[in-house]
């Protein structure tokens, strides 16, 4: 049953480029037979054993799995923080799997918006400066940068908190600053790693409502989680276990 529900099942005998161009021109993300192997001393540990899937633009998808399942490894690959040991990853028609560090940095800056469990804001910087940071590395001029960052903060209802530092904000507000930072560069995907892991139930609901609204506005959202009720808010759920896709189903 494991790969029956794959959006486009890969054929191991066909060159990966062919099906990508032939079948997946509309896919934002195409993963083909992705392996990730770590060297642990003399031993080789496979975190992913040949994972393949496609994500079209505008989808709201949850990647779920217990700890040690390989979902974090998968998230790092999707977010271009790492490259696969084997296989091909196409993001927005670019072959990311062959890029070097600086090219990956550029892709992360332009195509990926990260939302982390622990927010990962710069503690000494104001909310505005935190949101401006991706624009700084993207080379946006200061006046445009200020304008874009202010708009992004307004979009997450934090217009009145732009000069606050993270320690002056609540957990939910911090996560909304992080979401504004993720969205400010208009990335192709919004990639959230346990976005409600550090929040209470009420605030978690607010953040998930915000994701739903952002999805409604056309954003592609990928949430990595181990909580089923968080995954249940997505439209499609990919379950990972032991480095393989166990299940891939549309739930709405």
């Amino acid at each position: 049953m494991s790969d029956v529900t794959l959006a486009s099942p890969p054929s191991p005998t066909v060159l990966p480029e062919q099906p990508l161009r032939a079948h997946d021109a509309n896919s934002l993300i195409s993963m083909r037979d992705i392996w990730k192997t770590y060297e642990m001393g003399s031993e080789q540990v496979h975190a992913l054993h040949g994972v393949s899937f496609d994500i079209p633009k505008g989808e709201y998808i949850a990647i779920i799995g217990p700890s040690g399942s390989g979902k974090s490894t998968l998230m790092n690959l999707i977010g271009c923080l790492d490259t696969p040991s084997k296989g091909e990853y196409w993001l927005n028609a670019k072959n990311v799997s062959e890029m070097d560090d600086d090219e990956l940095a550029r892709i992360r800056n332009q195509e990926v918006g990260f939302v982390f469990q622990t927010f990962n804001l710069l503690a000494r910087a104001t909310a505005l400066h935190n949101v401006e940071l991706p624009l700084i590395y993207g080379g946006i001029g200061s006046s445009q940068r200020h304008e874009m960052a202010t708009e992004a903060l307004r979009a997450v209802d934090l217009a009145d908190r732009i000069t606050h530092r993270p320690n002056e904000l609540s957990g939910g507000q911090r996560q909304r600053v992080a979401i504004a930072r993720a969205l400010v560069n208009h990335p192709s995907i919004l990639l959230a790693d346990e976005p409600t892991g550090a929040l209470d139930t009420h605030t978690s609901k607010e953040i998930m409502d915000l994701f739903e609204r952002l999805h409604g506005e056309g954003n592609t959202i990928i949430v990595v989680t181990h909580e089923h009720d968080i995954a249940a808010r997505a439209h499609r759920v990919i379950s990972i276990r032991d480095g393989l896709i166990e299940k891939d189903e549309k739930i709405r």
Binding site: R108, F114, L133, G141
Partner: protein, 445 residues
């Protein structure tokens, strides 16, 4: 509906890649400026946030740079003072004497001592024959104890001179009273012109004109003060004002005619110095019975102040090199402090590096950030160090008594060197930060 919808209205649901590419290229130049500026601001805020650490780092650099600046300033001041002192007679003066002013070995001392004394007859021959010699004079010195009433001063340089043109050649100026006339000088009168220290030490610092007409006792004989000299300051901590001029005829009478004297010759301009030296040398060789081509010892020493400055340079250059090295070592230690602190800073901020990398900072962005931080500390430390160094030099110069030489070159040297130290010691920590893997950096706490 949120404002995010409005901002995206023009580009559809998501901005396609084709929309991003030209924007990227267009702002490529801006990118570097913005990233460098960001790096600078980050550096400042990080330095502000860790005040104690910043202060310690600064101190490392400040001590190093201050040491270098103080040493350079003092040495330059010393060199200038020495040059000014020994060429106060100007580059138009040369001397003829029995032995050189500087003797570096016992063998030389014995050799020079065997020479005949330079006498008043030698001087008169040069006055008469040397046509390029403009002003000439003779001088002899002896250290004596000088008294006035119950006050006593030891080791005063008593300098017998003739004629009074020697005051000109020595480039001393009168503060009160007058120089004696050649007539007075020729008649072996007990008159004198005293340096500023004599007034200070024997007359309790009274106004110079009130000392005129009073007597000082040199070797038991009273001398009437006719003039007081303007102060000349110190060299190597020794005063140049602790001296008394008396006429040479008086000197000869009271301190003996046996001592060898020094002949001073001044030419109208530096151009004529060489010609005058040639003439004087020929005259002296004749008087010592040296024929042309005789390469044995000439029996006298002819030298200019340049010779002395050269000797001074040779004698001190090794000491200076060692001093510079010691100062350099303290700057090197300052560099190690900066590197150490930067390594700590990088380790402490691994998480921040991970965040920055995750949202798109490239290696060179991170490298620039930490490099600028190191350079900022080093340059600020350098600037403070330059000021401290000058302060130190002034205090030392005040204590040992000679002017310091503050030059733009030493400011540039100080700030430049500290910046170089900043780059060198910041490079390795910055490179370590730039090379970090984003996932591992993010995982750290």
């Amino acid at each position: 509906m949120s404002l995010l919808t409005e901002t995206r209205a023009g580009t559809g649901n998501l901005p396609p890649a084709t929309h991003l590419a030209p924007r990227l290229r267009g702002v490529f130049k801006l990118l570097r400026v913005a990233a460098v500026w960001e790096a600078f601001l980050v550096a400042l805020s990080s330095l502000r946030a860790n005040k104690l650490r910043t202060a310690l780092t600064l101190m490392g650099i400040v001590v190093g740079v201050a040491a270098v600046i103080a040493v350079v300033t003092i040495i330059k001041g010393l060199d200038q003072t020495v040059a000014a002192t020994f060429s106060s007679q100007g580059s138009t003066v040369f001397t003829i004497s029995k032995r050189p002013r500087v003797i570096t070995s016992r063998e030389d001392f014995i050799k020079f001592n065997k020479r005949k004394d330079v006498t008043i007859d030698d001087a008169e021959a040069i006055f008469r024959v040397c046509s390029s010699c403009w002003q000439s004079g003779v001088a002899a010195n002896t250290p004596e104890t000088v008294k006035h009433k119950d006050q006593k001063s030891e080791n005063v340089n008593v300098r017998g001179i003739a004629p009074s043109a020697m005051f000109d050649i020595d480039a001393v100026n009168i503060d009160a009273g007058r120089f004696w006339t050649d007539n007075e000088g020729a008649t072996a009168h007990e008159i004198c012109v005293v340096g500023a220290d004599i007034i200070q030490n024997l007359f309790g610092g009274i106004a110079p004109d009130r000392a005129l007409g009073q007597n000082v006792s040199i070797a038991g004989r009273p001398y009437e003060i006719v003039g007081v000299l303007q102060p000349q300051g110190k060299i190597f901590g020794a005063s140049r004002d602790n001296l008394i001029y008396i006429p040479y005829s008086t000197y000869q009478k009271n301190f003996g005619a046996h001592s060898s004297l020094t002949i001073f010759v001044k030419t109208p301009s530096a151009d004529q110095l060489e010609e005058a030296q040639d003439q004087a040398r020929t005259i002296m060789r004749n008087r010592r019975g040296k024929t042309f081509g005789d390469d044995s010892d000439e029996g006298f020493t002819l030298e200019t102040s340049d010779v002395f400055i050269d000797l001074y340079g040779k004698a001190t250059s090794n000491i200076y090199i060692v001093t510079y090295l010691v100062a350099g070592v303290s700057l090197f230690v300052g560099g190690i402090v900066v590197m150490n602190i930067m390594l700590v800073s990088v380790t402490e901020r691994t998480k921040e590096i991970g965040i920055r990398k995750a949202i798109g900072a490239r290696r060179k962005d991170i490298l620039t950030q930490f490099l600028i931080e190191a350079i900022t500390v080093a340059a600020v430390g350098g600037a403070i160090g330059v000021l401290t160094g000058f302060g130190l030099a002034y205090v030392i110069s005040f204590l040992i008594g000679f002017p310091v030489l503050v030059s733009a070159a030493s400011v540039i040297l100080g700030v430049g060197m500290s910046s170089v130290v900043g780059v060198v010691s910041g490079l390795w920590p910055a490179w370590r930060a730039a090379r970090m893997h984003p996932i591992e950096a993010l995982r750290s706490e």
